[in-house]
Amino acid sequence: MCFVKYCLSKYSIWYLFLLVPSFLFAQGRKISGTVTDSMGRGIPAVTIAEEGTNNSTIATSDGNFSLVVSGNNPGLLFSSVGYVTKEVKLTGDQSSVNVVLQTSVASLGEVVLVGYGSVKKKDLTGAISNVDVKNLATQPVANAGEGIEGKAAGVQVISSGAPGSNVTFRIRGTGTINNADPLVVVDGVPTDAPLNNIDPNDIASIDVLKDASAAAIYGSRGANGVILITTKKGTNGKGHLSLDFYTAWQKAANVVKVLNAQQFAGLNNEILSNGNQTVNPGYANPDTLGAGTNWLGALFRTAPMQHYSLAFSGGSDKYNYYLSGSVLDQKGIVITTGYRRYTVQFNSQAKPLNWLRIGNNLSLSSDDKPSGSYDIRSAMAANPVQPIFAADGSYSKITGNPLWYGDITNQVGTANINTNDTKGYNILGNIYAEISILPSLTFKSTAGIQALFFDSKSWAPVYDFEPNPQTQAYLSQQFNKSMTYLWDNYFTFDRHFGPDHHLTVLAGTSAQNNRFDYINGNKRDFPSDVTQQLNAGTGEANVGGDASEWALFSLMGRINYAFKDKYLVTATIRRDGSSRFGSDNKYGTFPSASVAWRISKEKFFKVPFVNDLKIRAGYGVTGNQNIGNYSFASNLSIAQYNFNNLPVTIVYPLVLPNPDVQWEQVQQSNVGVDATVLNDRVNLTVDAYLRKTSEMLVPAVVPVTTGYSSTNVPSVNAGTLENKGIEIGISSKNITGVFSWNTDANISFNQNKITSLNGNTPLFVDSYGLNANFGIDQAGHPANEFYGFVTDGIFQTQKEVDDHAVQQAGTTSYNSTSPGDIRFKDLNSDGVINADDRTYIGDPNPQFIYAMNNTFSYKGFDLSVFLQGVYGNKIFNANNIYQEGMSIAQNQTLRTLNRWEGEGTSNYMPRAIYGDPNQNARVSNRFIEDGSYLRIKNVTFSYTLPHQLAQSAHFSSIKIYTACQNLATFTKYSGFDPEVGANGVDYSVYPVTRTFSIGINLNL
């Protein structure tokens, strides 16, 4: 009996056929049938397994299956992603069975990727989020990352509106003051390629490894979490053709309102007369100037977007394939920006021999990203009195006194004339072979490649509009190549011992290396605008180029052990050697362990409404090796000087070497509960974690007297940081039946704190101008906190000025603090307002992030309403340093109409004055705003035509849908949009867009 089980281990069934066919056939009988959903449609890819064995098969795309079973009264388990697993007991002579599966929120049967393998969701011991990708394809977004915003507890996604831009992921807070991006793994290949390279339609699953016990299998790259993306595979059955098309319109959700010409001229007069400067005679009668130019209006537009994808898939027992192609054509909401992408995905798997499985995953993409030549803040600042075009039809220019006219170059002109374009050509793929050595032992070898080629081109023709005329045409090009190779080898042992024990062991190696090369060149002076090639330039030529490399070699192992499905243990270890580590720290070891206890299986557990209850606990160590390729090296840099116009080589020491540099380390503890209650209708997951980053790289203190760079300093592993938080995720089937209503919600609380840096010297992380720092990292505070002065209303009278600490001494209202200026708090009470009166004025890290999705279905109609929000973070609105500064001839926001113009006129918007003697625009809480928001992130309404109707048109299904991304945003933030980037600074940020789309999905 035991021998049979041994032979029937998961990977060996075909092998067994070969070796002992007669034995097997003598024992088995064939069961066949169909699996359908509640509407009678066949469900493809359902796994049908014989209970107590490793014997299983997969249903075809029509839902048909057949399986040879061995037991006399066997139980069959029918499981599929998104459906409630169903168990059917077969009677002695039954040879066919038809099964209806109910859709599920619990989805405990789902398989979750864990890196170098997968486990059933119900057997998880770590904190892993399985992201719902069902609606990914119908969302009008180019980047799959945007599509998963709010879909997983503890995963913050920050998108940008710029076409073709990438998203920023933060998993469980900001793990380090350095690079806090998670590792992304696509089809088993760790990649640094942008997620844009993959069409959202091709994605089958996204799993996020959040805690260290899950991520430790990625060792020195797991510290900021791991995102595992799997592309779609073919399924058994006849070929399946799917066409998806949508068209969309995008618009800026909110445009900041600025002054019109008349208001601007009035303000300019006030600025100058308050500052004792001569006013512009041309602005003597502001009323005559009218509304003038709306520069922002001219820069933004309603932009179309189209997406087409065609996928063809199918397969048999021996072979399956998935082939797809897509085109995305997106125009940006800022004129001349856009994004066009072509992708091809080809995945296949074959079983040429009974003991051999080979396959490949291949993602090809090519994109073109015109990124324009514009600056949103400059468009806000542009003079509204200036027309876009001069009388002769050319772009207008600014000449003359900058105090009257400003000095902002014609933004519409540069946007239309200059071009900046990046083209990318990307290959991401792998081939693998999986060999069954013994029934319970397999070996898999994977060779992966990531080849990224991208080149950028900037062109500026001759133009004459001042203040920055281009007197010679300029062309600059850069070609980049990044090649990454991967070779993974690992053994997997998977065996049940008796009915109670299940052991899985993984052991293997991984080697990955990368080389990045670039070469660039630029020239000036071209004979014509059509000859945009370097050879055509006649001016001075500059060339440059460089290369860098890294390599990683790893050993890894994992043990999963389950006893009676009740007690689950996972232990992993990874040993990473990296070319980036100094010779004394070449290898790092990253262990983890986690356990889970399924209380609901205990005999004493008798809570009727709880179907499944599992408690998890884990601890692990992970690393972050994004520390630069050569931090350890003791090297001399090469550059140049010149004598008599002739260049000569210089060789000089720049960075003090740190031969001891190593990875940053994260120790993370996690406890969690998974519960399924109320007849499998409600699924609840709660996790609490403590994430301690140590060995965090902080800039070394290098006395400048050494002569080594004091700005380009080596980093030393000396900082510590802590994130702690709670994540709650809930899925509920509120109403089932013909009309169904499901709710998924999650909320994640995180607290971030730097616990120590190298010494007490704070690190300034953001600044504008030459020395106006505003972001600070200091022990005892959250990462990247804002730092500056604290305002205390506005001086209404000279007496109030005199009674307060000295801010700017002087003799007149135009060179010193005067009524109408901002009162800054004298925090150290020394009677003087200076740099010592700065303090912490805001935390860009949210207190919690949350999301809720409600889906309603009735017959063929589906409606999903997805809300997503962020709470408690602060934004530094750096645009307003200039756009509410009221000291120079730049246009200002409409709010400046409420400026102080006499006692009692305002207590928050100061007076307008040239030169800003009081430095009202200094970094202060004046520019800190609440960044909390709640968005209606996505609303999708779709209608699936009745089956018969579709079939009469020779389709297996037809779905039409309409969607709106970022439908509405509720926020107090005064800028374009509160989603400004992970550091919380809004400076010329390209706002996210509101997008309406309509689409159709056809299946053949």
Partner: protein, 501 residues
């Protein structure tokens, strides 16, 4: 029948291979730089290392920005710039509200040390290289000259400074050095320059891409300036005369000193070289283009590429020109003055009504903001003549200091004659002193020298009197030295702040 045996065997081989074949796999070294242990082996290494000792002078921390903005602090001009916070740190300096967080001061403090390190590396390693003795001497001489010049910059702005004469590593006891008495710093400067005078060749021996290197004349002239700064006037005179004997003369045309087409001319003892190449970023430390024209061009005009509008001369400065001074038209842009390559100036281009013309390079010669190849003068013969006159007068040879311009030994009047001004004769020692300092102000305007004159004469009392006379009443004795930047004190607690900050 048993393929698995072979497979298992081959898998084992594959697996073992994949584990063991990684010995060299993790050895990755930078591909674009030289390992320290392979360097200082050849004469070329020595040349490349001494070239590196020049480069820090090019940076905005020193001659490309911060040193000429000292003239703003000295009252010759105001910042101008674009308003808002543009140049706010220089406004603070000019208002004498400078605090230890001032980024301009930080630049001046940080600027020289990379150069000093390169000099120290050369002085430590080049003696051990097998190479031509004449070349070795030249290189060592250049290192001594450059190190002296870097310390001379530091000691004049900050007073006492740390004295580092060998390359350092974190294990050194002096890794966090204290400031030492400036007398010791001057001792090193003087010894370095004396050595450099012996080691360096005359400038005419340089050809091709060596023209512009430190020469014997550079070292002699700089030593004269060091003695002048220390008030050792008797030592100044013979050195100035030695410069004359080395063949230096005044350019016939004053503005040729600031014309990229006449760089390293007959008047030039030493200048910071800019080629105007654009292969490094304009704001990068390694930038090869000069900032002066770009920064000083009238804002919102097409006089020059860029035109940031910095450094606007004050009315008081413009009024200080003697009638007939030809340098006025060559130094200042003013309404009604001569046009600049066809561009007509209007007083609305500037907050003071004036802009600097001296350093402007027209777009026909430098089309873009980042293409100017104008050198920055560190020491020129007119300065040497004025130093000689000042030293003669200070040592009682007041008449000798006023020799008519036709006299071969004339000093002050030679400089005045070129400016189209009549000879000075018969002034008293006190009046002549004042006259010479005034002449230095006009002759060397915007070259970053005025501040050093203000703080050196009469131990700075001359400067304070002058600053108060033009309304800068905030200036007190503490302002004669700049504060030590707070971030540097934080990084090295052994540094103590200058009094009053």
């Amino acid at each position: 029948m048993k393929p698995t045996r072979y497979i298992q065997l081959s898998l084992l081989v594959v697996f073992i291979l994949s584990i063991t074949s990684c010995r060299k796999y993790l050895d990755k070294v930078p591909l674009d730089s030289i390992n320290t242990s392979n360097f200082f082996k050849t004469p070329d290494d020595a040349i490349n290392a001494i070239n590196a000792a020049y480069q820090p002078m090019q940076r905005p921390k020193l001659y490309n920005l911060r040193m000429w903005t000292s003239d703003i602090m000295a009252g010759n001009s105001v910042v101008g710039a674009g308003g808002g916070t543009d140049g706010i740190e220089t406004v603070e300096e000019a208002n004498f509200t400078t605090d230890p967080g001032n980024p301009g001061v930080l630049d001046l403090w940080r600027g020289p040390w990379p150069g000093i390190l390169s000099c120290n590396l050369v002085l430590q390693n080049v003696p051990g290289i097998k190479m031509d003795e004449a070349l070795r001497n030249r290189i060592l001489g250049e290192a001594k000259f450059l190190r002296a010049n870097y310390y001379f910059i530091l000691v004049r702005y900050f007073g006492d400074v740390p004295l580092i004469t060998t390359p350092q590593s974190p294990k050194d006891t002096n890794y966090y050095p204290s400031r030492v008495d400036k007398k010791l710093v001057y001792n090193l400067i003087i010894q370095d320059l004396k050595d450099a005078i012996d080691l360096l060749p005359r400038r005419e021996t340089y050809t091709g891409s060596d023209v512009g290197r430190a020469s014997k004349g550079s070292a002699v002239g700089l030593l004269a300036k060091v003695y002048l700064t220390l008030g050792q006037y008797a030592d100044v005179i013979p050195l100035c005369q030695q410069v004359t004997q080395l063949g230096y003369t005044l350019d016939a045309n004053y503005s040729d000193n600031f014309d990229p087409a006449h760089k390293n001319g007959p008047e030039s003892l030493f200048e910071v070289q800019y080629s105007g190449q654009t292969n490094y970023g304009f704001f990068d430390d390694l930038n090869q283009a000069s900032w002066t024209s770009t920064f000083m061009g009238p804002r919102n005009t097409t006089f020059v590429g860029g035109a940031y509008g910095w450094n606007q001369p004050t009315q008081e400065f413009v009024d200080s020109y003697e009638p007939g001074d030809k340098r006025k038209d060559q130094t200042i842009l003013y309404q009604g003055g001569p046009d600049f390559y066809g561009n007509v100036y209007s007083s609305t281009y500037s907050t003071t009504g004036y802009n600097v013309r001296k350093f402007l390079v027209p777009t026909s010669k430098s089309p873009q903001y980042n293409t100017s190849n104008e050198d920055f003068p560190v020491l020129r013969y007119a300065d040497v003549l004025l130093m000689e006159a000042e030293a003669l007068n200070a040592t009682g040879k007041t008449a000798e200091a006023q020799l008519p311009s036709t006299d071969p030994n004339a000093t002050l009047n030679k400089v005045r004659a070129r400016a189209g001004l009549p000879d000075v004769t018969g002034l008293s020692q006190a009046d002549l002193k004042e006259k010479i300092l005034h002449e230095r102000r006009m002759e060397l305007a915007f070259e970053g020298d005025r501040w050093f004159d203000l703080v050196r004469v009469d131990n700075g009392q001359y400067g304070l009197n002058f600053l108060h006379s033009i309304g800068k009443t905030n200036a007190t004795a503490k302002n004669l030295l700049l504060p030590i930047p707070q971030v540097e004190i934080d990084a090295n607690p052994n540094l103590k702040q200058n009094p009053g900050y």
